[in-house]
Amino acid sequence: MAVTALREKQSTVHTSLEAIVEVKGICKSYGNVEALRDIDLDFPRGKLTSLLGPSGCGKTTLLKIIAGLIGASAGSVTVDGKHVSGPGPERAFVFQDFALMPWATVLRNVAFGLELRGTGKTEREETARRYIAQVGLSGFEDKYPHELSGGMRQRVGLARALSVDAEVLLLDEPFSAVDEQNRRKFQEDLIRLRSAQNKTFIFVTHSIEEAVYISDRIVLLSPRPGRVSQVIEPDIDRSGDPDSIHRDQRYLDTVEEIWQGLKQYVE
């Protein structure tokens, strides 16, 4: 176990920009409606890549195809060289509507992925407690989802995805049902969490500011049908005070540049 972990770490150090998720020629149609046309994308290991675009550009569809939750009409997705034909243990999903079980406590919800894998109760609860602490929910282990705010519920969703120790985290507009203040705090926490985990994040959002704030790479999708229109790598230093990013000139320029590019698709 430890040896494999070490070997993986070394390989990521040597080829830090190697792609972990490769999307080749993905097309998706619903009847006559073409949702995605010929998507080719690489997602580098250990980076946070955002899929950004106006509604109808198929960003969530693409994320769910990568997750193996829906099938593509054509093309293929590989994760770590393995062809994707359904959900797998190396990917974990964070849902837009949280998808928490209302009858289960925070602890059981977070441990649910491990519960389904047959991990023993003590072990999975220990892991769950660790991730609950990491997302800042210590003390809420025995609460039920209806007792939590929207932001806290999504932290539960994130902790659940982290606790199965997947290499790739897929986040589907995780903050869209969270209020603005909580979203800002959550974004800051996500940057902090990322530096602690060596995981690959694929993040769907419709917020330009959010994408520029947290992403290493931004894939701009244009709508009807969804195609890749541009890939941007905002070179923003995130090591310092998270608030300073919002005042960073490169941050503001990138937001403006993306807005100018997307404007034409907004009616």
């Binding site: 990917r91 999903f93 998808a99 079980m101 209302p102 009858w103 519960e115 389904l116 199965v164």
Partner: protein, 275 residues
């Protein structure tokens, strides 16, 4: 036909939310309020008995006294011994069969097409009309009574379970699949707990219908048990005894429903505890 089913589960949904809101409002002192409500009811009954509303309408105190007389002389315990056997057997069979059939119909199209129309017809039919038929086929024993309980209890349990399983929260199913849940895990850990409030609403209706079934059977088919006790005291104009018997079966039915609710909250939906 489909409309029929929808109305059914909507109605039960509505009663569910209504009762839980009511309970929330009374959270401060629910027991005292309930006792006050029972005392008020008893008081009005007592006054109405003294007016009197009818010569066949005993007072509350006479009824209570008659209740203890019936217990003391052993006729009520004996009657319950005879009534409870088909009732408990019928209700238990209906619960397990009904929830089982409902789940199968909710999960498989074939099951839905084969079985659901039968239960929709059964539910729409005035089932009491079948009881003479049941007597004709199964005689007047325990089997006939058990079947009378089941034909009343089963349809509502099946239809509610089926509807509840069909309407399970889609995003929880996707979540379970994305975390590699097997089909069996999806059923036991997502579908059943998510459907349990509506399944239990159906069980409450079904159990209440089972009480109707057993009393009907005893009034119409076999003069035994509680039904016989009611008929016997009516024929002797012992109205206090008759009312005591009727009130006792209503009380038992109510207690059974409260117990069902307790199981639901305890086992399936702990987050509703104290709500």
């Amino acid at each position: 036909m489909a409309t029929n089913v929808r109305t059914e589960s909507e109605v039960t949904d509505l009663t569910l939310t209504a009762t839980s809101e009511e309970a929330r409002g009374l959270r401060d002192r629910p027991i005292i309020l309930r006792l006050v409500s029972i005392a008020l009811f008893a008081g009005i009954w007592e006054i109405a008995g003294h007016i009197p509303v009818s010569f066949a309408f005993p007072t509350f105190s006479d009824t209570i006294a008659a209740f203890f007389r019936l217990i003391a002389d052993g006729s009520m315990p004996a009657a319950y011994l005879s009534t409870l056997q088909p009732l408990v057997l019928g209700v238990l069979l209906s619960t397990f069969l009904g929830v089982g059939i409902g789940i199968v119909c909710g999960l498989s199209r074939a099951g839905e097409w084969l079985l659901i129309p039968v239960f929709i017809v059964l539910q729409a039919a005035p089932v009491a009309a079948f009881i003479p038929l049941v007597t004709f086929v199964y005689g007047i024993g325990m089997t006939a009574k058990t079947i009378a309980v089941m034909i009343l209890a089963l349809p509502v349990i099946v239809l509610n379970t089926y509807k509840a399983v069909r309407n399970v929260n889609e995003s929880l199913l996707v979540m379970c699949r994305s975390f590699l849940g097997t089909r069996w895990q999806t059923i036991t850990r997502i579908i059943l707990p998510d459907a349990s409030p509506v399944i239990f609403a159906g069980l409450r209706l079904g159990v209440a219908a089972g009480f109707v079934g057993v009393v009907l059977a005893e009034l119409l088919i076999t003069p035994t048990g509680i039904g016989d006790l009611i008929t016997f005291h009516r024929s002797r104009a012992d109205y206090a005894e008759m009312y005591a018997t009727i009130a006792s079966i209503i009380a038992l039915s109510t207690l059974t429903l409260v117990f069902l609710q307790w199981i639901e909250v305890r086992v399936f939906r702990p987050e509703k505890r104290g709500a």
